[in-house]
């Protein structure tokens, strides 16, 4: 009954803020001076609790979108909402990493975090010491806390930026290319950190131009291309058109084909002309262990058995009709 009053003037419906998506945009458009359209009529919807991959080649409008979400850049048209709240109320609950780390080189890592905490009007001064120490600990920078930022390596800088995004209890993390410049070890650490944060209930919106990265971290994804949204949805729904295939490596090609057909699998075929090339088929609803048991039961020598799910890249090639140029 009070919900109408509650949401008077709210652009995104009558649901209470906590029930609305973490991020919503409607027709969000940015045309820079000179006429270049960086973002074109973007309709995003990021559900609460999701790890949302925001994919696209460099220059496809990802960073401009993030800047608009954070109120750094004013949209030419369209609207957006974070956590169902007015921007000023939402931002203290949002941690952000935008276009790489930026800190005061002459301050220590710790002093830098204190500086940004002081800029947050909702952050309690009394707890800053503990929160800074905790954030540094989470990214493994405790040992370097007193060192000047100037002396930090690229990976340490990136981690400090993530620590800055974790200074308070956040409901939403917006991470723009969080693994940029990190070595494989650092990339793994960031990935597990994101998973850990998401497990705590925080919605994570992570932009990337690396398909594999999004595939490993995210529950949902959206794809940008030249400022336009090409696809968005849960990973399952994005991959929905493609079914997993079972691939069997065996010298007994003919027998294997026969068994697979008898199980009712679709698109059964030999993968090559040679006897050792193996066979494959769409798995459909059949359990892979049943397939293997049937093969072995019929005397097929199974040397390799794999279930292959379509990679995100396959999906995007299908969706966009072209390859995903990761180098942009």
């Amino acid at each position: 009954m009070t919900s109408v009053m509650l949401d008077a003037g709210a652009p995104f419906g009558a649901a209470p803020p906590s029930a609305r998506p973490a991020i919503v945009t409607r027709g969000l458009t940015k045309r820079f001076r000179g006429g270049q359209v960086a973002v074109d009529a973007l309709d995003l919807s990021v559900p609460r609790g999701a790890v949302y991959g925001f994919l696209g080649p460099n220059g496809s409008g990802k960073t401009t979108t993030i800047r608009m979400l954070l109120g750094l850049v004013a949209p030419t048209s369209g609207e957006h909402e974070l956590l169902g709240l007015p921007l000023g109320e939402a931002l203290p609950r949002v941690g952000a990493l935008v276009e790489g780390p930026a800190f005061y080189p002459y301050l220590s890592g710790e002093a830098n975090l204190r500086r940004f905490d002081a800029a947050d009007p909702a952050a309690p001064r009394a707890t800053v010491r503990r929160r800074v120490a905790e954030a540094l600990d989470r990214v493994g920078l405790t040992a370097a806390a007193a060192k000047r930022y100037r002396t930090y390596s690229l990976g340490m800088r990136q981690r400090l930026a993530i620590a800055a995004a974790l200074l308070g209890p956040r409901e939403l993390l917006i991470l723009d290319e969080p693994t940029n410049g990190l070595d494989p070890q650092g990339t793994r650490e960031v990935r597990s950190l994101v998973k850990e944060i998401a497990a705590g209930g925080t919605t994570v919106f992570v932009s990337s131009h690396l398909l594999a990265e999004v595939e490993q971290m995210c529950t949902h994804a959206a794809v940008m291309r030249a400022g336009r949204l090409v696809a968005q949805g849960s990973m399952a729904s994005l991959g929905g058109g493609q079914v997993p295939r079972v691939r069997v490596r065996t010298p007994d090609t003919a027998d294997a084909l026969r068994v697979l057909r008898s199980l009712g699998l679709a698109d059964v075929r030999a993968d090559g002309p040679e006897p050792g090339d193996g066979v494959s088929a769409e798995l459909g609803g059949v359990a892979p262990e049943r397939v293997n048991a049937a093969l072995v039961g019929e005397g097929v020598a199974v040397r390799g058995f794999a279930v292959e799910r379509p990679s995100l890249e396959d999906v995007f090639v299908r969706l966009t009709g072209e390859g995903f140029d990761v180098d942009g």
């Binding site: 002459y106 009007p121 001064r125």
Partner: protein, 433 residues
Amino acid sequence: MSTAETRETRPRRTPGLVPVSETLRTTSRPAPSDTADPAPAGTTAPAGTADAAGTTASAGTADAAGTTAPAGTADAVGTTAAAGTADATGSTGSTGSAIYAASAGGGRAPETAGVAEGGRAREAAGVAEGDRAPGAAGTVGSADVIDLAGPPPVRRFGSFWRLLGSELGLTFRRPRNLVMLAVLASVPVILGVALRLVTDDMDASGRGGGMGGLVASVAGNSLMLAFASLSFLVVLLMPVAVSVVAGDAIAGEAGGGTLRYLLAAPAGRTRLLTVKYLNAVVFSFAIAAVVALSALVTGLALFPVGPVTLLSGTTVSVADGLLRVLISVGYVGAGMAALAAVALALSTFTEVPIGAIAGTVVLVIVAQVLRAVPQLEAINPYLLPTWLTRFDGALRDPVDLGAMRDGLLAFGAYILLFGSVAWARFTGKDITS
């Protein structure tokens, strides 16, 4: 426990200040567990219970008091609960706490109940910061529990001053700025020593009559070195120092990329600009004070102390003289603050701090050149440097308030004009750095 910490445990706001819409939102907020697993009982339940206890206690107190009640239990939840209407006190207070108890315990409070009660109850929950209980800190789990107790307030009391403090700390600890202060402080020393040597030289040679007014008066009285130093430095060196700090204010943050993080924090554009300007104002007065102090100390060491002979010929006491030094410092500080507004305005137009700094210095120099052209005398009153040296009104008897008042009005006009330019530009600017 320090004063600041003590203050922290009190309720952050009075319920009367909380807008109704915000109140409702606060009340209707369910546990954020709708997106994640419901809080596992093993880890979160104990803390959650403590939370709930805190809230209940405060609601109970509110019931009796009818206004605000600080929570003072283990978690030190800064909660205020009050009834909107007198007769609703008991029921709404306890219902609110029941909802918090339910959500903090890991269950889900029915949203509609929260909203329905919220319609009548005026209840605002402060943020729960678990760390005030020693040992409660440390784990991710505890942070999540804290979140269950309610959303953080949008703005804390004193947050503006905290940001200003951070800004001042940055300014007065930055090596570059300290070097500038040191250079400014050294000029009166150099000036004093040089004048002393010249005076000794003249005394030795027996030629005393050729001394100029300034040198003569400094040699005659220690306080005069302060006025001499200010009038010497106010022309260029102090404007340069102020331009460096104020011109760097926005452009430096933009150039370094830190501006986007400050604004996403969110510092707030008007708030950040105000803090930046106030910081530059403090620096303006600080350099005037540093110059005067350095000059006073040097003067006391090198020249005789005694009644001061003013420009108008009258002699005043040392105390009166010191007061006039203070007036001069205030006037010069105000003039530098006006210049800081110009530098700040330029700073909002570029991502290259040196551009804003150099631009301001060039403007000062151009103004000085224009002043030197007799045919352009008519525009003199509109030029800032015209007014910067008018603190010599303090050296007349009685103090020339008219000239200084006009100067202060000119400074005010500059601050208003360029402050508006800076605000209009900065609040409408796309931050793409």
